[in-house]
Each structure stands twice: as C-alpha cells, then as structure tokens.
Symmetry: C2
Subunit: 275 residues, 2 copies
C-alpha cells in the first residue's frame, strides 16, 4: 500500500520510521515546514514527498498527525483529493468531537478515528523513534456503518507496524478511558509540580517523585485542546481523584488508621492485580 | 568499623549488601525472624550475628530498620547495651516525631536520625539489592548538640556505601520535603488507581498511567504509620494538590483556555528547569 503520513512531528515521523522498519509499504510524507520533509526524505524516513495535490490521491491510507483542532479542517479542505475508498485516519488523543463532526460529511473515502497510544515528554521530528509503538496499544473508532473490511485493513496495518495490541471501540468509550489513563495523569503530574516545594526537591527525592512528576513535561498548546475537547470525561476524573484525596486527608487528620489502611490496601490490591 | 544492621528487610538487607560490596567494614546483622538472619549469614550478606546482648555492644554504628513506631521502643529497650560514644541511627521515612521523642533521653551514645531515600514496590529480604542506593540521597538529621565528628562519620559512611548525595538537615525540614517528594506521590498514585475506571485500563494505557500509578503498590502497614506521623506537612501537601486540581477543573469547565494553558506552561517549565 501507499501510506501517506501528514505531519512529521514526534508521532508522524515515528509512524513513518516504524512502517519503513517493519513493513514493505511505501511511505509518502508531508510536513507543513518543508525543511522537515526534506530531512525526512534525506534520512530515508519517508520514500516520497510532493505537493498535497499530487500525493494525497495516491494514498491507500492517509494518517494525519496534527493538533486536535486542525484535523477536521485539513480533511474537509482536501476532501476531493483523497483516493476513492481509501482510508483516512488521524493520531490525535481525543475522538468523540472529531468523529461527530465528520460523521455526516459526504466523503467517497472512509474516515476512521485512530489513536496510537504512545508519546514522549519531548516532541518534534528529532525525537521520533522507530520503536515508539513497541508495547503500545493502537485504538481505532470506526462508525457503525464503516465497512468491516476497512477497519480490518487499518487494524492489520497497526499490527504490521508493531503495536502490541489493537482495540476497536466507540469514540465515546475511547475518550472516557483516555480521560483516566492519560489526561488525568497529566493533570495530576502538573498539579503536583506546581506545589511551592517543587523547586527544592533535590536531595529529598527518589523514584516516586521522578515517576509521578514525569509527564508534567507537557506540550501546553496540544494538551489545552485535548482537555477542552474531552471536558465531561476529564472533569469527572478530576472529581473522582479529588474526592479520593480528601478521604486520605480526612482520615489522616482524624488519626483514622483503619480508613487510611483500607484505602491503601485497596489501592495496592488494584495495582497488584490489574497492573 | 563494626556496623550492626537491625532488621534485614528490603532496606536493612540492601544496606548490608551495599556495605559488604563497597566498604571493608564488618557487618553484624540481626532480624526478629531468625530464619532470615540465618539466610543472610549463609548468603554472605552479613559477616556475623548473635544475641543482641552480645552484638549491640560491639557496634560502632547501629542502623535500625523497623517500621516508624518500633524504633523508639527498640532504642530505649536496649539503651544500656549500645557502645559508649557509638552512633545509633535508623532508616525510617519520618524524622521529627522520633527525634523529638529521643531528644531528652539520657544516652551515652549518639542517636542521629537517618533516611536512606530509596525503595521498591516490593519488600523483604528477598527483594534487597546491593545497588538500591546508587543514585540515591542519604539524609540525616542530627541534633543541634550532636558533635560534628559523629555526623561526619555517618555522612562518610553513607558516601562509602555509595549514596550519590548526602544531605544534613533538621528533622522538620526533612519531614516537610518528604511530604512533598514521597508521601503525597504515594497518596496520589493510590487515589488515582481508586478511580472506578482503573480495572478497565488495559488497551487504553501507556507510559503516563504506568508511571503515575507505579507507587500505588504500597505497604499499607508501614505507610499508615508514616502518614500519621507526618500529619501537618502531608495534609498541607494534599490541600495544595487539591487546589491545583480544582483550578484545572474550573478552567476546563469554563473553557478558560488561557488559565489552562498557563497552568501547563508553568508546570512544564518547573519540570524542565528543576527536573
């Protein structure tokens, strides 16, 4: 297949590298900043590039790697260029809003929401890795009327690329789960390092500080969009987290050893059994 | 020197292994469950053992590795056995309460609070590692009237053992910092996995879930004591964290893009600059 990677930042270029490394598909690449495209071509990260008018029509699968709010406009702007019956997908971390917006558009190709679940604290082409998706999960969110063959093609591609796991689900379930597994983790890491004591942690910190605070290294532009586009699920997670924290606080204040012990016993059990 | 390790669990046995590996001191060991002492002797983790009445008087440095509430009773019970002018220290994660309790006791040895800042999600002799303290910080909290030579001896020993960094501070400052770097991280990880969605995270999680939730694997017995013994500093940290989380929530609810972006920009900057 011809696979077009639009946007050669961390995720796009890592996808290109993984496809080149693990499959025989031809990789077309395009990036808004042309110097990045030129480097990707010179580095052998992509096989071909060219004007969008020329390369979009050749792609059997197009993967768009933009910030959330730029995806729908890009697809609509180029809707007449995509190859008939081809697959158009994206890699952004929220799905409901985008899938809903595109649901009633009249396309002769198939849009299927995608989310390759991997990331780094750093971004951009220079930090891309062919191994970024090893051990990672690929999630896609087809519509009820998406032909099964198209979803299967996308899932098979993800397996070829090297994802450890593929999940087909609804956009709504994706967003609810991602609010828990990813978004709230970033909110809490950020809230944690905003403590007045953070600047003085050296000499007093070990693995727990390092791990819990890691994802406070955050791309504020992108995550602002992701959080606002998943308001309901994310605020629910914040509420749940805050209420658990307040049970901790109250039990500590009241010397309520039993409640405190039970909370940790329960948390430990969940982590031990579920990972 | 003769160094006595009392309690051969994760921390005690790791200290014994690191001392054997990195220094020429003689390691005496003792554990309440005698089968563990016997194994440590057979494994060469300790050089010698024996009844407390026999080995305590031989130790130049005694390191007590018990749960917080067992340290003061152990020291008081054996106070007439410790060698004159020897150093007695411990490895537990809170210092103010213990140091205050022992401050006015009449000893002919020197108690100096200690905290080797390392741990694992697993505990016990079987999980001990000679390398546990590589890259770790050793904190000690002498009294104002502790002779400098005694503190220096303890700090030098920590350096010999292989700690990457040593910090001499007050018990109060230790406990305030530890509430932030370690205790709240555990409270947070535990509160996080108590979300109703945790059991369903598979397929939807990546590095951020893994790292932020890691220390939810917690020894509930030990941490209940540690949290209750550091009530003031820890509840302050919970308050700070909850108020940051609620600013996140409010800005998301109100589509307040600027506040949300500023919060993350600030968090990212702290993490980038301070680590």
């Amino acid at each position: 297949m011809n696979i077009l990677i639009v946007g050669l930042g961390l995720i796009g270029a890592s996808l290109a590298k993984a496809i080149k490394k693990n499959t025989n598909h031809t990789v077309f690449g395009w990036n808004r900043t042309q110097s990045v495209t030129a480097r990707a071509l010179a580095d052998g990260v992509i096989d071909k590039t060219g004007d969008l008018e020329v390369i979009i029509p050749q792609a059997d699968v197009t993967i768009i790697n933009f910030y959330p709010q730029a995806i729908v406009p890009f697809i609509r702007e180029h809707k007449d260029l995509f190859k008939q019956d081809s697959i158009v997908t994206d890699s952004c971390g929220i799905k409901t809003k985008i899938c809903k917006e595109l649901e009633n558009d009249d396309f002769n190709f198939y849009y299927i929401g995608g989310h390759p679940m991997a990331g780094r604290e750093v971004s951009g082409y220079d930090n891309s890795l062919a191994t970024l998706f090893d051990n990672a999960s690929f999630i896609c969110t087809p519509y009820d009327n998406t032909p099964k063959a198209k979803t299967d093609t996308l899932v098979s591609l993800a397996e070829e690329i090297g994802f450890a796991q593929t999940v087909v689900t609804t956009p709504e379930h994706h967003d609810e789960m991602i609010a828990f597994t990813s978004q709230i983790a970033h909110v809490l890491a950020c809230s944690y390092v905003l403590s007045p004591l953070a600047p003085y942690h050296r000499g007093f910190s070990a693995g727990s500080y390092r791990d819990v605070s890691r994802v406070a290294r955050i791309n504020a532009d992108m995550w602002t969009q992701l959080f606002l586009d998943n308001k309901k699920a994310l605020t629910q997670e914040i509420d749940d987290l805050v209420s658990n924290l307040l049970v901790f606080k109250e039990s500590i204040e009241k010397d309520d050893e039993k409640t405190l012990h039970d909370l940790m016993e329960k948390g430990n059990k969940i982590k031990e059994e579920i990972g």
